[in-house]
Each structure stands twice: as C-alpha cells, then as structure tokens.
C-alpha cells in the first residue's frame, strides 16, 4: 500500500528545492555580470528576471522547516524536480532573446545544456550575445558537476547521501558526501584553470585569434568538453577551429570528463596501478578500441576519405566525442548522415555505451557493461567447468569487490532500460517518417546525452519529437531511478492512503 504524502513531506521537499534554487540563482550572477561588462543590456535584463525568480522561489523554500528528515523518497523527488524546474526557469533568457523558435525550443536547449547532451535548436547562433553563449555553456558545467553537489557544498544539511545518489552518482570517494562533493568541485576547478589556459593559449598563439576571443573560446570549449556537453560557441562546432592541436587539447578534456571522479582521486593520490586494474578502465579501453576499429573500417569502405591520415583524424575525433558523450563534431551533420554501414554502427554503439559511472558522461556506462560481461563470462565458465569448481567473482572498482547476482541484475536492468529508451525514441522518430538509421542515431544521441546529430534535431522538427528527446535527455541523465521515484511519489499523492 502506498502512503499518501502529508504536508510535512512537501515542506521537507520545498526546503531542499529552496537550497538548490538559491545556488542556481547565485550561479546566474556570473552571466549577469558578463552581460553588464559587455553592455549587453537585453540579455542582462533577462538574466535579472531569471535570477529574481530563482531567488524568490529559493527563499520561499528555505522558509520551510529544515531538511533533517529528508529520507530516500524525498531525496529522489528533489532530484527529479530539480532537473524538471531548473531548465524551465533557466530557459527564460533563451526565450526572451528571440534566438529560439519558442518556449519548447528554449526548454529543449536548457535541458540539453543541463543534461550535458549538446543537441541544439538555437537559431543564428553566430550572432548570439556572448553572455547568452556563456549561459548555454555554464548550464553544461552546472549539470555536469551536479547542481545538487554544488548545493551540498554551499548548504550543510541532512539528506546529503540520498541527494547525492539520486543525481546518478554511484560512489562516495571520501568518507562523507560533503567532502566527496568538495573533492569533485576541486578537481573541476583545477581542470578549469589548466583547460582554459591551454585552450586559450592555443587559440591565441596557434590559431591567431585576438586574446579576449581566444580565452572566450577556451572557456566555452572547456565547459562543453570537460562536462562532456557538446555545445560550441560557433555553428560549425569544433570544426570551426581547423586545428588538430586544438582538437587534441579538447580531446584530453573530453577524456578527463568521461573518467569517474573515483579514478581522478586515484590519479591524484598517485595510485596509477589502481587505475589500470579498474574494471571500468579496461572495459572502456576495449569498447573504445572496438568502436574505433569499426568506424575506421566503415569509413575506409565508404571511400569518403582518400587518405589514411584524414580518415584516422576525423574518425578518431568523432568516435572519441561519441564514446565520451561529448557531442563535438568536426564534420557537418549532413556529412555525418552519410557515414553508413560499419562507421554508423561504430558511432552509434560508442554513443550508447558512454563514459564511466560517476563521471559527467552519459550512456549505459562502462561499469555496467563490464559487470554484465563479467557476469555472462562467469555463467559460461560455470557451465563449462566441472561441477563444484569455484569461479572467481571479484572485480576491481575502487578496491576489490564481489560480483553478486544482485549487482549483476541491477546493472543489466538499467542497461535494458537504456536500450528500451533508445528504441522508443527511435520508434517515435520513425513514426514521423524519419529513416530508421537516422531516427536511431538521434534517439541514442539524446538518451545517452551525447549531442552528435545527423540533422534530425532542428527547429522545424515535430513538437512531440522535441518533447520525446527532452524526456530522453532527462531520463538518461538521471539513470531512471529518480524519475521513476518521482512518478511513484505523484501516484502516491493521488492514490495513496
């Protein structure tokens, strides 16, 4: 029997939501300041409105009793509501700018930004105000690092663990959730300084941009690369830069973003051996090699590239972008749609598999793939070995762990949910007359929070398809649990006793 939530439950949820709204409202001060500095008064006014609404709702929430009683279901509802409401309010500057076709398009890009997907419906991006461009990319940073993690750092309070886990973070790196959250943001800040400096210097000294623009590009590409987002400040994505060095620098950040923060911690503490023995590291290296080989062979067969260096550079970058869930492209969507056969398959599989658990990347995640493969191999060995033989069931993931049937089942269930999500999205796309391969590609890209496109995602696409992709992006980012818990909470509120 479901228990109907009482007023106390709503107050606890409202208090936590208040904390998150205040944090996002304060984050909005950065683009506001940017707009003021650049005398971009129209974006300035829209940021002021957005911040006002966030702070007002935030303070309203904070006036409710504290969150010491925040339990598991409250936490899940808070997480789901955060990912539902923050993009709605965060889309206001987009709506008011006139660069988006309407509220749904603006919401689409806000969700895409926050979920670090990178699919975009913005129009005339090349004339967009820098402060709005910055807000698009800052959404990647907020979503990738975790708004809730930021709130955990700013506000101490109960229920930290449930909020942390609800936002699809699987492991605590340090003993407390707050110290883990602080570590995640410390890693991000170090990468921010190093990444922006390197990208900015490359853009300035190698690409020949003027200094302020060089660091503007560096900052935008850092946000989108390290947070495996995929937005870019110009309409031709990373292809705009026409530079292998710039692509390589962005690539390093993409890999860093797709690594779990647990592995970052291992690297920071000098435990390189732990990194190499890690199940996720081994899995992702294998799947990357496999999808890369598929794509390169596929490209060679199609004859699109006449030289091995061109084929390798373009193939490598696109697969890296797909597997890390970033979504940067150095070829146009139109050209990507001609990558048929094995190249298409390689990219699609790379997107679906995604990066590591507890990273900023999306997709099924290497941990689940590794566990699933290990469980299947163990089952086969049990069948083949003599009766009574002992089959090893351990794996390395932040220390030695035991592969229990429950763990394998959980990994397989979430993996299957992802497959179902991809297929439902593809089916709806096909219902609108989009060819199977393109519908599947775009659906996987949305559900796995990648952002590569073969041209289906555009302002003229059907509204229902936009809403489906919005749902896919959100479900994919939250890894289903928080969204299902929220639906359960709503059901209990209506039908519970």
């Amino acid at each position: 029997m479901l228990i109907k939530p009482v007023a106390e439950d709503f107050r606890v949820i409202a208090h936590s939501m208040g904390r998150i709204f205040v944090v996002v409202g304060l984050a909005g001060l950065v683009p506001l300041g940017w707009a003021a500095a650049g005398r971009e008064w129209h974006p300035f006014s829209s940021f002021l409105l957005m911040i006002g609404i966030f702070l007002f709702l935030g303070v309203l929430g904070l006036r409710q009793p504290g969150s010491d009683r925040l339990d598991w279901s409250h936490g899940m509802v808070v997480v789901a509501l955060t990912w539902l409401l923050v993009p709605i309010i965060g889309a206001l500057p987009f709506v008011l700018s006139g660069h988006w076709g309407g509220e749904i398009d603006a919401l689409f890009d806000a969700v895409s930004g926050l979920t670090t997907t990178g699919l975009a419906l913005v129009q005339d991006l090349d004339h967009l105000a820098p402060s709005l461009n910055f807000w698009r990319h800052l959404l990647h940073f907020l979503g990738g690092q975790g708004i809730i993690i930021a709130a955990l750092i700013v506000f101490a309070g109960g229920g930290a663990l449930t909020l942390y886990l609800g936002e699809a973070r699987d492991e605590r790196i340090l003993p407390s959730v707050t110290s883990t959250a602080r570590f995640i943001w410390s890693v991000s800040m170090v990468h921010l300084v190093l990444g922006v400096t390197t990208l900015g210097l490359v853009a300035w000294r190698v690409l020949g941009f003027d200094l302020p623009r060089a660091f503007f590009h560096g900052l935008m590409i850092f946000f989108a690369g390290f947070d495996t987002g995929g937005f870019a400040p110009q309409s031709t994505s990373v292809g705009y830069y026409h530079s292998a060095i710039f692509e390589a620098t962005a690539g390093v950040l993409m890999v860093a973003g797709a690594m779990s923060f647990g592995l970052h911690y291992a690297l920071w503490t000098g435990r390189r051996r732990a990194v190499l023995e890690n199940l996720e590291t081994r899995t992702i290296l294998s799947t990357f090699g496999l999808t890369m080989t598929m794509t390169l062979i596929g490209l060679a067969v199609t004859g699109l590239y006449t030289h091995v260096i061109g084929l390798t550079r373009q193939g490598f970058f696109q697969v890296l972008s797909a597997h890390t869930g970033t979504g940067f492209a150095t070829v146009s969507a139109t050209e990507l749609s001609t990558w048929g056969g094995l190249a298409f398959g390689g990219l699609c599989i790379a997107m679906a598999l995604g990066g590591m658990a507890s990273s900023t990347a999306g997709g099924v995640k290497a941990l689940r793939i590794g566990i699933t493969v290990r469980a299947i191999v163990n089952q086969i060995r049990e069948v083949l070995l003599p009766e009574g033989a002992v089959v090893g069931t351990g794996f390395n993931q932040a220390g030695r762990r035991r592969l229990t049937p429950q763990l394998a089942q959980a990994a397989m269930t979430i993996s299957l949910l992802y497959v179902a999500l991809f297929l439902v999205g593809a089916g709806i796309g096909m219902a609108y007359g989009i060819p199977l391969d393109q519908a599947l590609f775009e659906s996987v890209s949305a559900g796995a929070n990648v952002g590569l496109s073969v041209g289906v995602t555009q302002p003229t696409m059907p509204v229902l398809l936009k809403l489906v992709y919005i749902a896919e992006m959100t479900l994919g980012r939250l890894e289903f649990v928080a969204a299902f818990a929220f639906l359960g909470f709503l059901y209990a509120a209506v039908r519970g006793k």
């Binding site: 702070l55 004339h127 690409l207 020949g208 026409h242 070829v331």
Partner: protein, 174 residues
C-alpha cells in the same frame, strides 16, 4: 560589309580560347553534396566569428550563406533555422581593411569568395574548406543595437526585492 562583320565576330567567339566557367554555389548545396564540387567555386556570404591569423600568412574564418547573413535575427531577420557556413582560408593581404567578422550586434562583411574547394583535404587531415584566391567585397559590415527589456528588469528586480524581504523576515529557530 555588315554581314562580313557579324561573320568575323562569330568566328572570333568560336575560335577564342575557352575560359573555364567558375561555378557559383550556394553554401547549403556545397555542404549537402560536397564531393560534387571539386575545383574552383565561387561562394557568397557573411564572414563571421573570428579572423584567425596563422603563421603561414593565411587567415581562417567562417563564411555563412544563410538568411541571417543578409539580415541577422536581432536586426529583424526571420527565423529560418540554424546557420549554414563553411570554413575559409584567405591570404592575409585580402583580409586587410575588411570590417570585423559578424557576431553579436555585428553583421560581418558580405563578400564573394572564389577559390579551390578542398573536400577532405589530405594535407590538412581530412578537413573541408574553401582555399580562397579572390575576394570581392559586396557590402561592408555594419553594427546594430539591441535595447534593454524594461519589463524584465522591473519584474526581475521586484522578485529579488521580494526574496530579500522574505529572507530578512524568515522564521528563526530558537
């Protein structure tokens, strides 16, 4: 005599060495079917983004051939989808004196570029771009304004004020 002149004129036209025609291609077509346009092509559009001055004496930038190149959204242009552009490599001396490239509140110079369409250039790691030999300025760049939204400022300030009052008058424990 008149007939003789016409005949001579026709002979000159027929016997004159043929000059290869340069195809003027819309960028959207060039992107859709890039492999069909090997060789010299002419494109028109707005230079946007940045002028990247490379050490080899060339400048890299982007040429957009879309409705916004004529009339950007903020100048009252219609929404017609995303931008349509290609990368262009121009000798630095051709860029000298041009207005800054297009961006926020700036319509970049409208130009006609003629050059080699390098599709998946093996010398540049498979990049596709136009290697420009000739640049004709069709229209200089221009700047335009965008006003403040007073209703948004007033409502936003009211919300912030209300949030401040609520925060100051919040119930305090103890």
């Amino acid at each position: 005599m008149r007939r003789l002149l016409v005949l001579c004129g026709l002979l000159v036209l027929i016997l004159a060495p043929s000059v290869p025609a340069v195809a003027q291609v819309p960028v959207s077509v060039l992107i859709t079917d890039p492999s069909q346009y090997k060789g010299t092509v002419t494109v028109q559009g707005e230079l946007v983004g940045d002028y990247g001055y490379r050490s080899d004496g060339t400048v890299w930038t982007q040429l957009n051939d879309d409705s916004y190149a004529r009339e950007p959204l903020l100048e009252g242009g219609e929404r017609t989808g995303g931008n349509v552009g290609i990368g262009v490599r121009i000798p630095a001396d051709l860029v000298a004196g041009l207005d800054p490239p297009g961006g926020y509140r700036k319509r970049g110079p409208l130009v006609q570029l003629t050059g080699e369409w390098e599709y998946h250039d093996p010398d540049r790691g498979g990049e596709s771009y136009l290697d420009v030999a000739e640049l004709v300025l069709l229209e200089p760049g221009r700047e335009f304004g965008e006003g403040i939204s007073y209703p948004a400022v007033i409502i936003g300030a009211a919300f912030i004020g209300a949030a401040g009052v609520l925060w100051l008058r919040r119930p305090r424990s103890g």
